[in-house]
Amino acid sequence: MSEGIDRVQVFEPHKSSLPPLKPYLRDFWRRREFATELSKFTDKAEYLDSKLGNVWLVLNPLFLALIYFLLVTIIQGGRDGLGGFTTLCHILIGLFTFYFAQNCILSGAQSITSGGRLILNQAFPRSLLPLSSAISAARQFWPTLPVYVSIVVIGKLIIDDTSIPGLTWNYLLVPVLLLLLGITSFGLALFFATLNVYFRDTTKLLSYIMRIWLYASPVLWQPDMLSGWSRIILYLNPLGPILSANSRIWIDGLTPTLSQAIGCVAWCILSILFGGYFFISRERDFAVRIS
């Protein structure tokens, strides 16, 4: 008998809707390398690992930010409380960050239906496919940060009276915030990926939803513009507290407020639990639905 034979797997009907979570999560963790490598290879196939591909990833949101900046300043007709440069920076960092979430959600939502053959041929925790999309989204997001920082540095050198903060300790909170955003978006991607298996036009609809989501998020407008009860919009939006806190760190140079911090963590936990439950409880059905 070969030495490799060391474990017995038993497949039985699942009485509860969730499979046993402990082995599932262990398998998920054991195969994480598959998700990272799959994401690298997918990027490679789309030439995103080339220099020009990287430039395009930065240029795309950069141009969009400029367009939105022009639109916003035209609509506001110069009645802006903040300086023009500050508005531009707010839109830039907001859009870059929002794009991270959007890429994560959009490509994650497609990952199951486009991974058909893989799903039909191999047994593995299916949540590794949206995870791989999330890793790609993160890898595409990193290069936009140095671009933002250089724009701020150049702006501060040219314009004397800009209110954009210099170096503060608050920047140390950015990685925490991005991790929370990544988990929140991954949870949302799990939800939409499952939905897309049952309704194949979900991703089509999702591109409109993401557009509206962008307008409803504090990216093109500042969170301070809302007052009183209307501020609830910021907290009903799963990405709202994170984007507000993000802008507070980058633009105001301040520590996120307690309600922002609670909002970030609450949405993160809620979305990963809900998305995770929705996905994992249905993923054994995928192989039947995909074929």
Binding site: G4, Q9, V10, R31, F34, F41, R117, L120, N121, F124
Partner: protein
């Protein structure tokens, strides 16, 4: 389960619902709901009350007409489809070749697809990279093709790469669905030799195929599935002969009436 068995299947039934709608979209669902129509689904009973013991080191062939439940059975042994009733115990590492082709990115090279295939099968990057050359060599592609995008491959080359990945994962249990037709006569000979070598190492192989002569040559036991039920099992020659007779004249063996 007894140590001598690689796979033990007890009273296995698999049924699933399929949606008969032409397009599974939210739009259609809403339109249906507005007309007060229900979703039309059909329950498919793909495998019915199957019990089967597969010892280590055996080569089991599974034959049957289209829709007999062969692929469903293979997927359930691989852990891709959960059983509806009964249980499946699997003792050892499984490697699968169920859907045709490795099924990865056609824009990537054969080498990259081999690495992805190994990672999907649960190997680490180092493990698979050390084997990539031998897998590529086994696939025996024309000079330089292994580093070209898979979309430039002929279908034979494509399935040869897929086959090489599956057999070179050092599986304890190898599941092959319609994979014997990969490549030409020379490659067929090579793949048969590889499978015989795997058997000598006490590894177990399950083959679904319509190529009855290959089944006769390779297998030491054959199971005939018909509409989800096991009609007969036994010596390859005997079973394939019965099966062939059924295919030609539509005659089921008398034992079927007892089922």
């Amino acid at each position: 389960m007894p140590d001598s068995l690689a796979v033990q299947i007890e009273n296995l039934s698999i049924s699933y619902k399929i949606n008969v709608e032409s397009k599974k979209t939210l739009k259609n669902a809403l339109m249906r709901a507005s007309r007060g129509e229900k979703v039309r689904t059909r329950t498919v009973e793909a495998v019915k009350n199957l019990t089967l013991d597969i010892p280590h080191g055996s080569v089991l062939g599974i034959v049957g007409a289209n829709g007999a439940g062969k692929s469903t059975l293979m997927r359930s042994i691989a852990g891709i489809l959960p059983p509806s009733e009964g249980r499946i115990s699997v003792n050892g590492k499984i490697s699968t070749l169920l859907a045709l082709g490795v099924g990865f990115n056609k824009a990537l090279s054969g080498r990259d697809n081999i690495i992805l295939g190994g990672l999907a099968a649960g190997l680490s990057r180092d493990e698979i990279e050390s084997q990539t050359d031998s897998i590529a060599e086994f696939a025996d592609l024309p000079e330089g093709f292994i580093d070209m995008p898979v979309r430039t491959y002929s279908s034979g080359m494509y399935s040869r790469v897929a086959f090489s990945v599956a057999v070179n994962m050092t599986p304890d249990i190898l599941l092959l669905d319609e994979a014997l037709s990969a490549g030409d006569a020379a490659f067929k000979e090579k793949s048969f030799n590889k499978m015989r070598q795997l058997c000598e190492e006490a590894r177990t192989i399950l083959i679904v195929s319509h190529a009855l002569s290959s089944i006769n040559e390779l297998c030491d036991q054959v199971v005939w599935l018909h509409k989800g039920q096991m009609l007969a099992s036994g010596e390859p020659g005997e079973i394939t002969e019965k099966y062939l007779k059924f295919l030609n004249v539509g005659e089921l063996p008398s034992s079927y009436e007892d089922l």
